[in-house]
Structures are given as structure tokens and as C-alpha cells.
Symmetry: C2
Subunit: 401 residues, 2 copies
């Protein structure tokens, strides 16, 4: 899990942060706008929601990335700027213009993200005022990073920050990453946003490969309820001057980007709305990694599996049968299943086990594990999800327009 202590964070060189309360949700005390700016042009690449219905800021970012001259981004929470047509696009562009003024760069050097309610115009007067106030406060510090990480939250109960200091070819390289997300999506809450900043030098095309691969093994391997947001965005920005990373140094850097993304993805699953359990699903022995991930995702999205975990019920039949409708070819005797360390089902046959002990394992641990082993190949995956609780239902029912 990411560290919550700013004193332990590594803040990548040349990056400055500011946060502001604009009152987007009508609450003047809550930080709801973040600006992040590099002292020098950065390479940037991103991956975005696969939803056919995507928010205006996603359109702006897609048009601009990958790129080699990005100076930073502005992000607001409380309003997703989604599903309102051309007006939303113009508002997103305007946020870039205002941020460019504050940072002293060109508008097309700025990226933009939003998260929150779908289908409402942004309160642009408030946002304009917010950006103007935030601009002069940009700072290179853990405290400023913490405020920026706070400003992008919606229903999250805590900030999500993960940092790393690498030594590559005798030089220090810092990775500074933060994210928000508590449901994969919801008009009142909405969306996963994640940003990885570094002071390494990486070419845009290489950065695109790195971010795509990292997303597959982190944010694409979590699921709260399977509802894909209109706004999901993962953006990586590298402002390092001088020689670009290459060869083994680049590989090490790529693995480290994946590692901070996995930290943040697990933190999102653990902080899911109303969740009482973080569930790690290990699936192995399929013909391909993709088959393993399809099975893991189907189990993760089954409300019957999720309610069983909430109820501390070692209900292996729900897990086995969820695997069975994932669209992957297998027969029952290919499959064995563990909950924690307990073997419940081996090669297609139920095993005797102490239900009370497994139930106690589920009841007393916030982080629990299930493992499915097939005998069909070497494809494997690790996937994270959460349980489904009455609190989740109530939180998502009690939104009122």
C-alpha cells in the first residue's frame, strides 16, 4: 500500500503543485482544483476510458497525446464535464487557456481532467477564479503534492500517493504518482484519475508503450462494480532533460512505473465505496494471460461472489460457477480453488474443510485472497476487487439531483 506520510515521499525534480477551493460542489472549504506544472517541457502519454461515451477533457487529452512539449495539467473534482456536447469541449479548452496563462506557457501544452457529476456544465466563473488564485501558489514540496492529491478526490476516504526513488546509470530518478477513485464510475462520484510524474528523460513513443503496459497490469486489473467511467485517465509525464533512458535502464523505469500504478490501483480497490474487504484474485494455469484475466474479472464482477465475501461465507460454488460463465473453455476437473490457505475444491471435486475457520478468515481480515489454479497452460493474472455491501447500495441510491 502507498505511504500516507508526506515525509517519506519523493517529489520528482522540476514539478510544482497547487490546489484551490473553487466551490464546484458548493462547498467553499473543500479543495477541488489541482494544477501541476513542470519547469520545462515534458514527454507525456496516456491511456483513457474505453467507454464510447467519454468526457470532454478525455477528448482534449487524446488530441494532444503523446507529445514532447507538455508543461502540465489542470484537474477539477465535483463535475465530470461529460455528456453535455460541444459546450463541455469549449469549457475544457478554456481551462487549458487559463492554466497556460498562470504557468506562462501555451494552451496546447496543458492537459485537463475532470471527475464528478455527469451532465452538468462546469461553473466556469468559479473555475476561472480558482485557476487565477492557484497559479501564483505553485510549489515543489510534499505539502503541495498532498494538497493536489486531495483536490482530485470525490467519494474517496483518503488520498492515494505512491512514490519511488530509482538509481539508473548512477543518476537518481524520482517517480511521483497520485490517483483518485472509489467507484469505477458514478455521476456523483465518478472515475479513476491517475498521474505519474518523473524527472527522467523518456521519448514520447516509449512513454506510450510504458503507460499502456502499466495500465494493463494495474488499473485494468481492478474492478469495483464493472461500470466503466466516462472519464478514466492515466497520464505519465517525464520532464527529464539530457539523455533519454534506454536499454536496461528504460526497462527498470518501465517496471517501476507499473509498480507505482499497482500500488495506486490496490489503494483504489481497498477504498471502494462501502467496501469492507480488499480481495486479491490470483488465477493461474490458463492457456493465456488474457484468459486468466477474463476469469478473474468475471469473478470480481459477480455480485453473488461479492456478497458472499461481505457475509464471510466460504461459498466456493459461486466462485466456480462465475469462472464457468467467463467465456473461457474448461471443464470442472481442470480447476482447483483456495480461499486464503484452505483448499476448497480440487480438480473438480469439493474438499472437506472447516467452514468456521474459513469464515473466520474472511471475517477477521480486511485483505483476503482467492486462488484458482487450472491445468491448461501457464497463463496467469493478479486482479483486485472489493466486496459488495449494503452501504455501497445505499451510497449509490441516495444521490439526489
Amino acid at each position: 500500500m502507498p505511504s500516507m506520510d508526506p515525509n517519506t515521499w519523493h517529489v520528482a525534480k522540476g514539478w510544482r503543485f497547487a490546489a484551490q477551493s473553487c466551490g464546484i460542489r458548493g462547498d467553499r472549504d473543500r479543495l477541488d482544483l489541482a494544477i501541476v506544472i513542470s519547469d520545462r517541457p515534458a514527454s507525456a502519454a496516456g491511456v483513457f476510458t474505453q467507454n464510447r461515451v467519454f468526457a470532454a477533457p478525455v477528448r482534449v487529452c487524446r488530441e494532444r497525446l503523446p507529445a514532447d512539449n507538455v508543461r502540465g495539467f489542470v484537474a477539477c473534482s465535483g463535475n465530470a464535464n461529460a455528456c453535455i456536447g460541444e459546450d463541455g469541449y469549449q469549457d475544457a479548452l478554456r481551462m487549458c487557456v487559463l492554466t497556460a496563462d498562470a504557468a506562462g506557457c501555451k494552451p496546447d501544452q496543458v492537459l485537463v481532467c475532470s471527475t464528478g457529476v455527469i451532465g452538468r456544465r462546469l461553473p466556469m466563473a468559479k473555475i476561472e477564479s480558482g485557476i487565477r488564485h492557484a497559479g501564483p501558489n505553485l510549489q515543489h514540496s510534499s505539502a503541495a503534492l498532498k494538497d493536489a492529491a486531495q483536490a482530485i478526490l470525490t467519494t474517496d476516504t483518503c488520498i492515494k500517493v505512491s512514490t519511488k526513488l530509482l538509481e539508473i546509470d548512477g543518476t537518481d530518478v524520482a517517480l511521483t504518482a497520485f490517483a483518485k477513485g472509489a467507484a469505477m464510475m458514478g455521476p456523483n462520484m465518478a472515475t479513476m484519475l491517475a498521474f505519474v510524474l518523473t524527472d527522467a528523460g523518456v521519448a514520447p513513443a516509449e512513454l506510450q508503450n510504458i503507460v499502456t503496459s502499466a495500465a494493463d497490469r494495474s488499473f485494468n486489473a481492478i474492478s469495483v462494480e464493472g461500470h466503466t467511467s466516462t472519464n478514466d485517465s492515466l497520464i505519465v509525464l517525464a520532464n527529464g532533460g539530457g539523455p533519454h533512458l534506454r536499454g536496461r535502464g528504460l526497462e527498470y523505469f518501465a517496471e517501476s512505473v507499473t509498480s507505482v500504478c499497482r500500488d495506486l490501483a490496490r489503494a483504489i480497490a481497498a477504498d471502494a465505496e462501502g467496501a469492507k474487504h480488499l480481495v486479491t484474485i490470483e488465477v493461474e494455469g490458463l492457456r493465456t494471460n488474457e484468459e486468466a484475466q477474463r476469469i478473474a474479472r468475471t469473478i470480481a464482477n459477480s455480485p453473488l461472489v461479492k456478497t458472499a465475501i461481505y457475509g464471510a461465507d466460504p461459498n466456493w460454488g459461486r466462485i466456480v460457477s462465475a469462472a464457468g460463465y467467463a467465456g473461457v473453455e474448461f471443464v470442472e476437473k481442470n480447476l482447483s480453488l483456495w480461499l486464503g490457505d484452505t483448499l476448497l475444491y480440487e480438480s473438480g471435486r469439493p474438499q472437506p474443510f472447516e467452514a468456521n475457520e474459513v469464515s473466520a478468515y474472511l471475517r477477521h481480515n480486511r485483505e483476503v485472497q482467492m486462488r484458482l489454479r487450472f491445468d491448461l497452460g501457464s497463463g496467469r493474472t493478479t486482479f483486485w476487487t472489493c466486496d459488495l455491501t449494503p452501504e455501497y447500495v445505499q451510497m449509490n441510491a441516495d444521490y439526489t439531483t
Copy 2:
């Protein structure tokens, strides 16, 4: 909705019913075994779960169907006879042998179904005794049909029966159908089972086409939580002697089978565990019916849409964004959306509407409608689902082994 009044039912000629309390769940007062027998051999065809993990009775039925000499079936509730390997298959065959003894036919003329807990051996001594007791009580009556319809229930709150009397070429033809289902699946509850009996004469190959088409437009067009059962079965049996239906008479018969199946499917969605709303989703204007159904199913399975309906929240952003991740190509301006009679979203733009009025519509009606209109073609579908409530979560969490 199906009629609950046995006096209005049409019982197909030559079909007899019996029900018995075996104590499969340890409850001696609850009917849990049904036998249905035709006086003469019947054509029979079925469609079954697409789950790779399927119960032993499904294996037996698949081996025997389609067929032209079926005399009937035995069904038990409280135990799914699933996921226990070869023993379960032998138990299912044994149920056919015992029922054949009671009915005076051969074992391979009998079909078998089960629904209930996954992963436990059937209590065969209890079931054997139950079948022996039920055999002599087989009766052609609405009262006996009602008991049989009761005996297959699990967490259902009411029986589901739909009947029709058709006149085809000057002859009366009765359709007598009953079903169970309250979650699409769950080890403690489990499964959709549905049976359609008729006194018409239909060849097995034709019956197979009819049941496949009927399933697509009824039971495959409902979803409670998207978890496909190990035991889902729809079986149609036609015991009519003499000339087989052909031409327009056969078409009318086929449409009528679909009609009773749709009645039962809607009754299942309406009786879903913990549900407070039956939601009809109309999707039209896609390139194909299949695209329309994919969008409807994705919306029906979204926990965020389902919790919004529970909360009487006219949260159109959740519906639009669920459509967006169904894997169907479209852009926002292709789409318009109504809740009840209120247009919320037209050609990609939110419309002004009275939130209080739409919220009242959702709050005061148990049956509610959403309609999505695309401008991409003439493909369309009607789909039924229910809302997601804290009661659903609690019911499915509180199962203990």
C-alpha cells in the same frame, strides 16, 4: 403477468402432476419434489445454461434431447446436484429410474432437473422415498399443477404459472407453463427452471427451433445480477398424437410458446431477490437486434443503474454511460433516452426536466420503463431486470454453510 388463480388455468390434455415433501432442506412441511408425466410419449426439446460448469441433471437432459418418446420429468428443489463430479451424475440417473418405475415407463424416457445449493450430494434416501410416495398421486388438475409449481421454488416468493388456450385448425391446443427463479443463480437459491407442456403434436426438430427462439426472446432477455447459473433449463414437451402442427398453425403455436415464456420471464424478474422494481428496458434503432440486446443487458447488469432505480434517482448519466461500455459502436448524438414518458437526453444533449416528477414516477411505480432510441438502424429489443437493494445484498450475504 401470469394469473395466480388456478381456476383460470388451462391444463394441457394428458398431463398429470404430483408434488411431495421429501425434506431435502430438512423442512418436512415444504414441497420440494415434483413429478410431471404424460399419458403418452411426447416430443421434447430444451435449452440449457451456457455455463461451462453445469449440473448433473443438465448433462442428463442434454444427452436425451431432442427426443420423440419422453414421458415426463422429475424436479427437486433445495439441492442443485452441481459440482460434485460423477456421483452427482449417477444420482441424477437414479432419479430417472425411480420416476420411470412410478410412471410405468423406461428410465431414458424421463428427464430430470434440480435447483438449490451447489456442491452437496443429494439426500438420495429422502428423494427415493419421495418419488415412491408421489407416483400414485399423479393427477390431471389445476390443484396438482399448483403443487408442482410450488415444489420447484427456492427463494421465490410466489409460484409462476402461465397458460393459454389456442385454437389451431379448429382444434383446441393448450399451453401449460410454469417456472421458478428469483436470482439467476446462487448456491443457496439458484437457477431458472421452466417447463412448457402442450397437447399439440410437434416434431422434435421443430420443437427445438421453437424453444431456442422462445428462450432468446424471454429468459435470455432478463437479468437479475448477471451471474449465469449451473442449472438453468427450459424444456418444452408436446404430447399431441395425430397430425403434427405445420405452416401457419405451427407459427402461431411458436409465437404462443414465446408469449408464455415472456410471461414467466417477467414474473421472475419481478420476483427477484429483494427487488422493489421491475424495470423494462426498450432499446431501438441499432444496426442489429443483437446490438440492441447487448446494450440492454449491459444497462441491466450495471449496479450503478440498479441502485439509482432503487433510490428513485433519475440518474440518466449512469444509463448513458452504461450503454457506452456495452461494446457497441456509437457516438453520443446517436442516442436519446426516456424514463417513463419523460425525455431526459436527446441526440447527445441533456434536456431540462422536472427531477421531482421523474423521481416520483420511480418511487410510486413498481413497474418502470426506460427507453433508449438510437438512429443507426432498425435493430431492437425488450429486456427486463430489477433494481439492486440492500435486501438483495443481505439475503446473499447471510447464507451460512
